[in-house]
């Protein structure tokens, strides 16, 4: 009984952790004011931090991708030694000059918990996973920053990659009001984690066959294993994200300590079919608005 409660509790924790990370990943690098923490632009030993809370509206990673709304934290920190944290990205500036920014990056990529309906359709979860890589930004114009991020990691037992390229421009609208415009593309290769699925994905369209030897499926007596063999073995393994996006960010400084930050991002997906994490959702919009305290 106790162990059952424990199991449920752990499961719940996992789910809530996943959804928090899922949510916070959308917020990565959204605060324009913390967007360009150029190296050593702080006094030695000082730090600059924003901690905030806001409301995020985004599509879920379910089939159809219905828009959902949630409360989302927003954390941006940078230290004088060049280390910075932007939600689920931890990096370090190694740039010798202000002409360009370069450094290593550790990033947590959001997961996606498949619903029962989706699992029945043959899709597994996509576990959140860490990726490592680096970033390189430079400014061809004083008001234009071109940035790139390349990350690799492991997910569902396979190698995953993530590439993002973005152009960003910032305008002062009026005293205490700033507007950031961004456009970019993301090319990410990931996989559904069928081992984590409570339903065998091969059930979706397979025919019952008997095979000998170890494996997943129903254990019969001895070494006989009864399993469902799919006629399409490789289906539903890829959970890629390939998109282009346009973003608009509005920052309103209420004081040196309080800031209201809002952004709207419109995304167009290239893959919406079986290879995509975003099944059937070609275009979607993400909206965030929140209050942050700088300390």
């Amino acid at each position: 009984m106790i162990s059952a409660i424990g199991w449920v509790y752990t499961r719940l924790q996992l789910i809530s952790m996943k959804s928090i990370l899922f949510a916070s990943l959308f917020c990565v690098a959204r605060l324009a004011s913390a967007q360009t923490p150029a190296s050593s632009m702080l006094p030695d030993g000082s730090s600059d931090m924003y901690v905030g809370l806001g409301v995020l509206s985004e599509p879920s990673c379910e089939v159809g991708g219905e828009q959902t709304t949630r409360i989302m934290p927003n954390v941006q920190m940078q230290w004088s030694n060049g280390v910075f944290l932007r939600n689920t990205n931890l990096g370090m500036h190694l740039s010798p000059s202000s002409a360009y920014e370069v450094g290593p990056l550790l990033s947590y990529q959001r997961g996606c918990t498949a619903s029962a309906a989706r699992k029945l359709a043959g899709y597994g979860d996509v576990d959140g996973s860490f990726q490592v890589g680096g970033f390189f930004n430079f400014r061809p114009l004083s008001n234009l920053r071109l940035g790139s991020k390349l990350l690799v990691g492991t997910g569902a037992g396979r190698k995953t990659t993530y590439l993002n390229m973005e152009g960003r421009s910032y305008f002062k609208l009026a005293s205490h009001h700033g507007l950031g415009l961004s456009a970019g593309l993301t090319w990410s290769r990931r996989y559904f984690d069928s081992a984590n699925s409570r339903f065998d994905p091969n059930l979706s369209d397979g025919a019952l066959v008997n095979v000998a030897g170890p494996g997943n499926g129903f254990t019969a007596s001895g070494s006989e294993v009864l399993t469902w063999k799919s006629s399409r073995l490789d289906i539903n393994k890829n959970a890629n994200v390939r998109n282009v996006y346009l973003g608009l960010n509005w920052n309103w400084d209420l004081s040196a300590s309080w800031i209201v930050t809002s952004h709207v991002t419109a995304t167009h997906q290239f893959d919406i079919n079986q290879d995509s994490l975003w099944l059937g959702k070609r275009n979607y919009v993400t909206v965030y608005s929140g209050l942050a305290y700088r300390f």
Partner: protein, 251 residues
């Protein structure tokens, strides 16, 4: 569905307004604690010290030659009109209130203070809410003896241009140094600014009403331009009166 988002958004904005009201009512208290001057809080303008610091530290970190130029924190009016008299700039935080004297061109020396950074201080103007911009301003250092070698002025102009190009100022990307501008108060009768060539002949430079810096649009100063094309390399510029500012000219 839309109603749901709308209501959440409205709620959030309401929370923001509440926070805004709170900060506004809280700020004067802390300021008054550190302040001795009584200023009307309604018309004050401010900028985050951290944001200004990020702007101003670039000059300190700049590694190429810069010994003939200087960097100031400058207040400029948005519509080009002159800044009001008795305009005061203060650095205000929990534990300090520091007056930063403004010169006639609206410039102040910017203190790079770790304590002000850590306390997230504000730079506060006692008036002109919403009518001014803050910027960093590069100019050529004024000499106390008033004697400027033309070669030094040319070098100073080159240093200023190299710095501004490095900082990403695209307005000057295809330009080169053509001269310098000395600026004086508008009511000045005789600036006594002369050019002395290698033949020791003195030529007075003509004064005209113009802005202290070529990217400003006012006519608030008496200025004298020296163009390098008109001056021998080994000549000197003699300024009896110290100018308010010496600006590099790019074309």
């Amino acid at each position: 569905m839309i109603t749901k988002y709308a209501s959440i958004f409205v709620l959030l904005q309401f929370a923001s307004v509440l926070a805004f009201a709170q900060t506004n009512s809280a700020t004067p208290v802390t300021k008054q604690a550190a302040a001795q001057a009584s200023e009307s809080q309604t018309d004050t303008e401010w900028i985050s010290y951290r944001n200004a610091y990020r702007l101003m530290i670039q000059f300190e970190k700049y590694g190429k030659p810069k010994h003939l130029i200087q960097n100031h924190f400058q207040i400029v009016s948005k519509n080009g009109s002159p800044l009001p008299d008795n305009l005061q700039l203060n650095l205000v935080s929990k534990s300090m209130r520091l007056n930063l004297p403004l010169d006639a061109a609206g410039r102040a020396s910017f203190p790079l203070l770790k304590s002000a950074y850590d306390e997230n201080a504000e730079l506060v103007l006692n008036q002109t809410a919403g009518q001014v911009n803050f910027q960093s301003r590069i100019s050529i250092i004024v000499r106390s003896d008033g004697v400027y070698e033309i070669a030094d002025l040319r070098l100073a102009c080159e240093q200023a241009m190299a710095y501004l190009k490095n900082a990403g100022d695209t307005r000057i990307s295809a330009r080169s140094c053509v001269g310098v501008r000395f600026s004086y108060a508008k009511n000045l009768q005789q600036a006594g600014i002369k050019f002395r060539g290698v033949d020791m002949q003195m030529h007075a430079l003509a004064l005209q009403e113009n802005s202290a810096f070529p990217d400003e649009s006012n006519k608030a100063y008496k200025t004298a331009n020296l163009r390098f094309a008109d001056a021998a390399e080994k000549g000197q510029l003699l300024a009896q009166q110290a100018p308010i500012a010496i600006a590099p000219l790019f074309e």
